[in-house]
Structures are given as C-alpha cells and as structure tokens.
C-alpha cells in the first residue's frame, strides 16, 4: 500500500523568505520522488500503555506546589486520513509556552515569568475512533527575532506519527480571532487555502462548566493511495525515476 504524496497545495514551501531561518536551512533542490517501498511505509507502533498517568493533562503533569496559572482549556479532536478513515494508535506529542508566553526551554530568553507548576509538554495516543483529548493552559504570545517587533501568535506545537513514517507530521495549532496570525511568517508560509485548518474552533460542547474552555482541532494525515488510478500514477513515477538513473 502506498500513501498519497504530500500535497504541495496544502504545505508550505521549503524556503519561505519572510521566515528568515528558512533561507539557509531549507533544501534548494526538489526532493527526489521514490517509489514507495517497505521502509517508508512502516513505522513505530504505539498504544495507551506507553503513556504516563498525567501525560495528557498539562494542568497536572508539571505541578510542584500548586496549580499552573492561566486559562484552563480542553483541546480535543480527531486524527483522520484523507480518505476520512479515523487513525487509531497514533501518538500525538504537544509542547507549548505557558500563559505568559514563556517556554520552560533553557534557551528561551523572553523576559516573562516561568510558571513553576507548568511544564508545557504532553502526549496522547488516539483511541479507536482517532480521538484525542488534552487538558492544558492557553499559551501566551511571545516575541522572537525574525524581524523588528515580531510576535508568535498563541499556538500549541503538535507532532504526530500516523501509520507510517511517510504520514509523520509536525504542525502548530492556532486560536480563532488572533490578530497576530496575519503578521506571522510561519503561519503565512502555509498556502492561503490551507491556513484556516490550522486554527482550532472554539467548542462550547467540549467546554466544561466552571472548569475549562473547549477547543476542537482535527488533523488530517496522508491517506492510502487506494484507487487503481492512483496506483498507476505510482507506477508511472517509479518508471520515470528509474529512467532518470
């Protein structure tokens, strides 16, 4: 089984000049299409047993002597493939700034307070319907050095595996109505039509009374190229690649 390739119309380019550090780090040559072989169509296996008790509750997993400060949230959603199949047993790892916009990371120099009770990292494994749920604190915006007065919009980093290393995805979840989105070169690096799907929806159904606001963020990974036509395309690519050699 092969997967549909990365859809160029949904993903950023390797080099997006407004995002300064991409200039020296993005590859300059086109990636070489190879026919799908076992190596890239398999991947590590995950199950719920790999998780620690509070791995998906960031309001609890960094506590030292009290509760973390900030707005509590529930972030939940489904992981699906392009063919609408739910993706179970998918590891999701997240990391984020605290409510003040400060990462616990040793290299973060932003002059905002560290929250002694908040780590900002968590993980979950999707259930049989591809669902996941985190409890966390709404991350703050933070400044960065890309250009004068540059601020990252509020965001949570997401890392996902899916069924193979070919479906691996690292992305960021943003918040509705954030005025920084239109100024952020990382978000703006995404083609226009695909941007809004990186913005979570406020979800009153998932909001827990007297406790936490709900946000929904669904994620779509590459799906199996299942139709005979897609298979043909794959074969054609294989031939072309061999030809070039």
């Amino acid at each position: 089984m092969a997967y549909n390739r990365r859809d160029r119309e949904q993903h950023p380019a390797q080099i997006h000049p407004d995002y300064k550090s991409s200039l020296l780090r993005g590859p300059t040559r086109e990636p070489l299409a190879i026919a799908p072989l076992t190596s890239e169509l398999t991947g590590p296996l995950f199950n719920q047993d790999m998780l620690g008790e509070f791995d998906s509750d960031l309001t609890k997993n960094g506590r030292k002597n009290g509760e973390p400060l900030g707005e509590r949230m529930v972030v939940h959603g489904r992981v699906l493939d392009e063919n609408r199949n739910p993706l179970p047993h998918t590891l999701i790892e997240i990391w984020q700034a605290n409510a003040a916009g400060r990462y616990i990371h040793k290299l973060d120099q932003h002059d905002a307070p560290i929250d002694p009770n908040f780590l900002g990292a968590g993980r979950a494994v999707t259930d049989a319907d591809g669902r996941y749920r985190f409890y966390t604190i709404k991350p703050g915006a933070y400044p960065w050095g890309n250009h004068h007065n540059a601020w990252r919009p509020n965001h949570i980093h997401f890392s996902l595996f899916g069924p193979s290393i070919a479906t691996r995805l690292v992305t960021q979840m943003y918040f509705p109505g954030d005025p920084l989105l239109e100024l952020d070169p990382i978000y703006q690096g995404v083609p226009t039509a695909a941007r809004e799907r990186l913005v979570a929806r406020f979800d009153i159904e998932a909001t827990e009374a007297n406790f936490a606001l709900g946000y929904r963020f669904d994620i779509v990974l590459r799906g199996a190229a299942a139709t005979p036509m897609d298979q043909k395309k794959g074969d054609a690519k294989k031939e072309r690649v061999n030809h070039e050699a």
Binding site: H11, A35, I186
Partner: protein, 182 residues
C-alpha cells in the same frame, strides 16, 4: 470527497522538552531514546547537520527508522536525538546493523530531519560505505544521479567499541544531501 492534508509547520527551536526531554535534562519521561535494541551487530551512528553557510545546526532533531538484522520491520526500530546537547552539535545513535530488505534493497536507515527554519521535515536514507556490492544493486540509490549518491553513504571507521559510521547532512550547497519525496 477527500479531506485535505493538514499543513506542516516547523518544529521550532523549543522542541526539546516535549520531544527529547530526558536527553536535554527536563523533568519529563522520554518515550524515545537514541538507542535501538535487538539481535545483531551493534553499530554507532553520528553526524552533524550543516546549514547553507556550512555552520553546524544546534537545534535540529533527527529521527531514524530501520529494519532489524534480518531485514524485517518490527515496529520498534525507531530512535530520536536532538543536536543541542553535544558541544559540536552532533547527533548520536546506538543501534544494530539493519539487514538487507527483500534481498533487493541494500541495508539502510531512514532518516527524518526536523529543525527550526524547516517548515516541512525532510526524508533521506543512510547507506553504508562497507556495503558497496549491495549498494550498487539498490533500486533507490540507483535512482539518484550518480554524482549525488555519495551524500547518502555513511563512512565506516573502526573503534574499540565496534564499527562507527559518520553521516553528515547538508541542507544546501554543493554537497546538499539528497532528500526524498516518499
């Protein structure tokens, strides 16, 4: 109707406490290390990631995925390492030599490259310098223009602890590593 793929974004500079916490000394259990266990010959693998100015990148994250010694994918051949804890920005893996896959492909290790500045992660493969005969028959290596094949070969050296392979990744320039659309 098909759904659209969610867009990729950079891993950013601050992935360490979420993705490689124990390596970087954070108080959170890692579920991946830089070691792959199994039967077979143990090998060391290390290298650096260079940007377009030839400077070593200190905030890259490298993941590897490989077959076991018999060339089978068992679901446990995965490891991860960040380049920020070594004084020379190296990554290090302690693994087993993978077998040939389907008796057709030469032994190799799949590599995923993430870093601040990369909006999309990149895929490449490590082949071994001491597998010249198998490399010559490998269909993927053969699909790479001959003058760029060398960017995919890890160089062997022998140490008291066993074979060590060095594999540097060049994001740009004359020696730009071959990346794959998989």
């Amino acid at each position: 109707m098909k759904l659209k793929q969610t867009a990729s974004q950079t891993v950013g500079p601050y992935f360490a406490y979420g993705l490689t916490p124990q390596q970087y000394g954070y108080d959170f259990r890692s579920i991946f290390s830089n070691r792959i266990d199994g039967d077979g010959e143990r090998i060391a693998l290390s290298g650096r990631v260079f940007d377009g100015n030839g400077e070593a990148v200190n905030d890259a994250m490298i993941e590897i995925w490989q077959a076991d010694a018999r060339g089978q994918y068992q679901g446990n051949g995965f490891a991860r390492f960040g380049t920020g804890t070594d004084s020379q920005c190296r990554f290090h893996f302690d693994t087993i030599r993978p077998g040939s896959i389907d008796n057709e492909q030469a032994p190799h290790i799949c590599v995923l490259v993430f870093m601040r500045g990369l909006l999309l992660h990149n895929y490449t493969r490590i082949y071994f310098s001491d597998e010249a005969a198998a490399n010559e028959r490998d269909p993927v290596l053969n699909s790479v223009p001959a003058e760029r094949r060398g960017t995919l070969i890890a160089e062997r050296s022998d140490t008291p602890d066993g074979p060590a392979y060095r594999f540097d990744i060049h994001m740009q320039g004359e020696r730009e590593t071959v990346f794959f659309d998989v």
